[in-house]
Symmetry: C2
Subunit: 336 residues, 2 copies
DNA sequence: GTGAAAGCGCTAACAC
DNA sequence: GTGTTAGCGCTTTCAC
């Protein structure tokens, strides 16, 4: 067990002054004489005095902690967003406490409870893929703790959020397919109660419309974002005779499952099927052929979410929606 | 700003009893009458009373926080280890505070300072690739804070650690190359002041010896683990006339740079060059051809490190070295 | 069976 | 210019 760290009391005793004198001297309070101030500061740095954050927190009613809830921390998408949040939090002198929901609504609720009990001063959340009810955020509101959603969001009139222009991204992807000659374009879509999945599907539809292509029941296929489920579904569709010319995948996990299955079936990308995914730079260029992808500014999403959160700490701040741009990066998977 | 959360005082006032009675009632203290206990607990749960962890921490001199320092949190290797740590920490009712060094020694030192100032009760650390002096861990010792290193370690006689059998893994990789017919086998090694790099190189040498192959100055190439540096070096070597039969890469970032360069130069894997990397399952099977790799039990490394840390919280615990096994998973990149 | 009081480390209002 | 005091939320010893 650690022996107690140096406290103000220790310094005061050593120097034969009162605790409050020490406290003031350390803050260069003008009342304190130069001589005392110097002696105090000298001893403090010699003994490596560090104020006890617990005591400070108790006094000021603040923990300088912000909580983050993500579906998982292992995926590049989330870990790089966390990284962005961390860099801003560090600037503000806050630390981050990470909790992962493992894509489970129940765990998400528990995480909320735990982080509130921990007295975080704010929350940054990406809801799980299961999350289709939103009452658990009432508690956050009751506690008057600011909360910022990112990517997968809800209750946007009440909470700030950072998202990307999913609609436009999907629309553009379709147009790119069209320009490259594809006509039978299919979207592997996600659960429609998730804003991101819905926006992407809507953008996809708009893209088809813009290109004068019909949207019918064969145009979109719904996956629940579980790897196994995706895999089975993909096998089903690919083994049918009529392959599409092009597929837009709703996210990175879907796109990589898709690539593996296409490879297994010796279906050539992009000759037989062109492919666009929502994916990050690192992974998109790792695979062969390199993947045309809709890139999220992940680090920036994290930074923005954190900035928004710190703005919300100011009581007269109003809820705000930040929408960032994605970039369609064209690579080999769509170049015929 | 959040209005104050419910405190014992609030409950006491409401119920016309003293604070200490409330405190005891909530813990089912036998002294307190059933009737009072019930009233207290009823009100507490109605008002969603949660003890203030700051006050508790101040009193008991504990934060229930453990600090983690990693080179980065974005890489799968680290994020999945963090995930393992988190799962154990959660079991023990601790939360984790993550700091990343960005592979910088200076930032690593700052992180140590910050986390100690935060009064974490323990530290789990993977040193940066720059770290070749170790005095900054003196402070941790002075503060009597338990510390567990993982993967990249130092001062093993003083601190516990979790590593993998790098020597044996590299040795086996060489033998596998040999069995597949390779004779000119090269190792892309890391900085030798890092234990992992040294152990892997040593194992590599042993592997050559076991197979009756010579080790000479062309057998190993040193990279500093920076992507750009690796890339340049690789281009240099690959553009020379005499290509090796097989390459063992010291880690995943090197192996993926290597794969990209080989692809760019139209050098076929495994026909022209066989390849083995230290890499994770997800990425190894994402690439084409799938990569024979030495897989780390990443989640388990995190779990073990955390368990070790919680054991070290017990003052009569002795420093311990845990070595986990890797697995050579054979895939297309070494199958001629 | 319950309450009062001290104390964890710190700050700030109030003495003097 | 410096000390005293109260109080942040909680537990625990000591009174009654």
């Amino acid at each position: 067990m650690p022996e107690r760290p140096i406290s103000l009391k220790d310094l005061a005793r050593e120097l034969n002054v009162s605790i409050s004198t020490v406290s003031r001297a350390l803050k260069n309070h003008p009342d304190i004489s130069k001589e005392v101030t110097e002696r105090v500061q000298a001893l403090a740095s010699e003994l490596r005095y560090k104020p006890n954050p617990l005591a400070l927190g108790l006094l000021k009613q603040q923990t300088r902690a912000i909580g983050i809830i993500v579906p998982d921390i292992v995926t590049f998408f989330y870990s790089s967003i966390i990284s962005g949040i961390e860099s801003v939090a560090r600037e503000f002198g806050y630390y981050i406490v990470i909790a992962s929901s493992n894509e489970s609504l129940q765990k998400e609720c528990e995480n909320i409870e735990n982080l509130l009990a921990l007295r975080v001063e704010g929350l940054i959340v990406c809801i799980s893929r299961e999350t289709n009810s939103y009452e658990h955020f009432d508690k956050v509101k009751d506690n008057k703790i600011p909360l910022v959603f990112f990517d997968r969001v809800c209750r946007q009139s009440e909470f700030s959020s950072v998202t990307v222009n999913n609609f436009e991204a999907a629309r553009k992807a379709v147009c790119h397919f069209y320009e490259m000659g594809a006509r039978r374009i299919v979207h592997f879509a996600g659960p429609q109660y998730l804003n991101i999945a819905k926006e992407r599907l809507d953008g996809f539809k708009q893209g088809l419309a813009d290109c004068g292509l019909p949207f019918n029941e064969e145009s979109a296929l719904f996956v629940n974002l579980e790897k196994q489920h995706t895999q089975n579904l993909i096998r089903g569709i690919l083994e049918k005779k009529k392959l599409p010319d092009a597929i837009l995948a709703v996210n990175d996990s879907v796109v990589f499952v898709l690539m593996k299955e296409l490879r297994r079936l010796k279906i050539n990308i992009p000759k037989d099927i062109a492919l666009i995914g929502f994916a990050d730079d690192f992974h998109a260029t790792l695979v062969e052929p390199e993947l045309t992808s809709i890139e999220h500014p992940t680090f920036e999403i994290g930074e923005e979410a954190a900035k928004l959160l710190f703005e919300s700490l100011n009581p007269k701040f109003n809820v705000k929606q930040v929408v960032l741009d994605t970039k369609l990066v064209i690579r080999a998977s769509t170049l015929k």
